[in-house]
Amino acid sequence: MAGGIRHEDLQELLGAYSLGALEPMEYNAVQIHLQNCASCKKELEQHLEVLGVMDEVFQESSPDHLWDSISDQIEETPPILELSNLPTPRPKFATPLRIRLLAATSAIAIAAASIMGIELARLDHKINQLGRLTQTSSIEKLAHFALKQPGSKITTLTSANNTYLATCVILPTGQGYIIPKRMSPLPPSQTYQLWTLVKGKEVSLALLGNKPSTVSFRINKGKVLLITTEPSGGVTSTLNKPILSGKISI
């Protein structure tokens, strides 16, 4: 209700509103109503889609100089970070007692490490080996289990011409799995990298390797998934064009 006018009455005005065919005093009521009514907003968008097609056909085309004046006004580089404006971190001073304790602890640790180091390294290696062997099969099992869970979001990532294909499943907890379906092996110097976008910026989710297999990742925010090819080891940000992309379903 806006200014005593019922939702149904304002809804009836949406067609004329989208056409700009209301009386001046009526615009205000509709605009106020639209701020809080999702269904009317949706309907307006639909009307505007139709009118957008008509406007392209029937309205005078945009003047040639218009794009030039827009592009003249855009900054082509990110704004320079003003380091002088950043707050200076507070210095941390170690107390003499703390220094003595640290020195004593370090000496013990170095002695222990020299004795146990070799054994630990061997053990680590074995654990990693076992981990890799079991991880692959268990991740695949988990991914297929996740596919069957109610509430899982399943997204298909495709390339522009459908040459590449991958399936992604995300559990309500944010645990996700990417299952490559059709992704060619890359040279060893390269890797596939999975990204999402948060506020328009890419955030790395996982490395898929050069011979992609099912991998797990966690996602808290982001509504799209993108896969790029990057140098082996991955990168923290990318300028490469995504070769696969998909929108995470609601």
Partner: protein, 196 residues
């Protein structure tokens, strides 16, 4: 991405990513796709080319500076841009300057008491797709839309011209746009099937 890459192959959502990475070519591609509709919508509402240009610039510069405002989950980029354009144009329309210009234009129309709608349709020589969409509307709805869209009449003026209650015209315009959207969706779906 180097300059040789084809931005025209990238989806709207993908282009937004590139805008986030400061690629002006991505904004250029979005302008190529939707600039016409944005400008056309502003021009139709405001009836003034200079103000339509101002709105179009504002909309695209805002997209460049705040690409994160577009949420692909909520709808298409085109819808987002058109909604922004419409809202900004209505704001300007309500401002004194533009209203005056519109009222002057309206004043020119008032002496007309009858309207040969069929003649108008034939004169307009509507482009194929739109003609097809309009032809599927019931005659009464088609008349209301044509008078409001092509002639810029308010719904009250349309009601007066067609000698029907104002409430009926409001409903006819709304229903007509809904039907047109359905036909448009079906046509697009058919086109996609044919392409596939």
């Amino acid at each position: 991405m180097d300059s040789k890459d084809q931005f025209d192959q990238i989806s709207d959502a993908g282009l937004i990513v590139y805008i986030g990475r400061w690629h002006p070519q991505a904004l250029g591609e979005i302008y190529k796709r939707h600039g016409g509709a944005v400008y056309g919508l502003a021009k139709r509402i405001l009836c003034r080319a200079d103000m339509a240009e101002e709105v179009t610039q504002e909309i695209f510069l805002k997209l460049w500076n705040q690409p994160e405002r577009f949420d692909s989950e909520r709808g298409s980029l085109r819808s987002f841009l058109l909604t922004q354009t419409h809202s900004r144009s209505i704001d300007l329309l309500r401002s004194e300057k533009s209203r005056k210009s519109r009222e002057e234009q309206d004043a020119l129309k008032e002496p007309r008491t009858s309207y040969d709608i069929e003649q108008e349709i034939s004169n307009l020589g509507l482009a194929g797709k739109i003609q097809e969409i309009l032809s599927k509307l019931p005659t009464e709805e088609r008349r209301a839309v044509i008078l409001a869209y092509f002639e810029g009449y308010t719904y009250r003026q349309v009601a007066s011209l067609l000698k029907v209650p104002e409430g009926t015209i409001k409903s006819r315009i709304r229903l007509a746009l809904k039907r047109m959207k359905e036909t448009l969706d079906t046509t697009e779906l058919e086109d996609r099937w044919l392409e596939g």
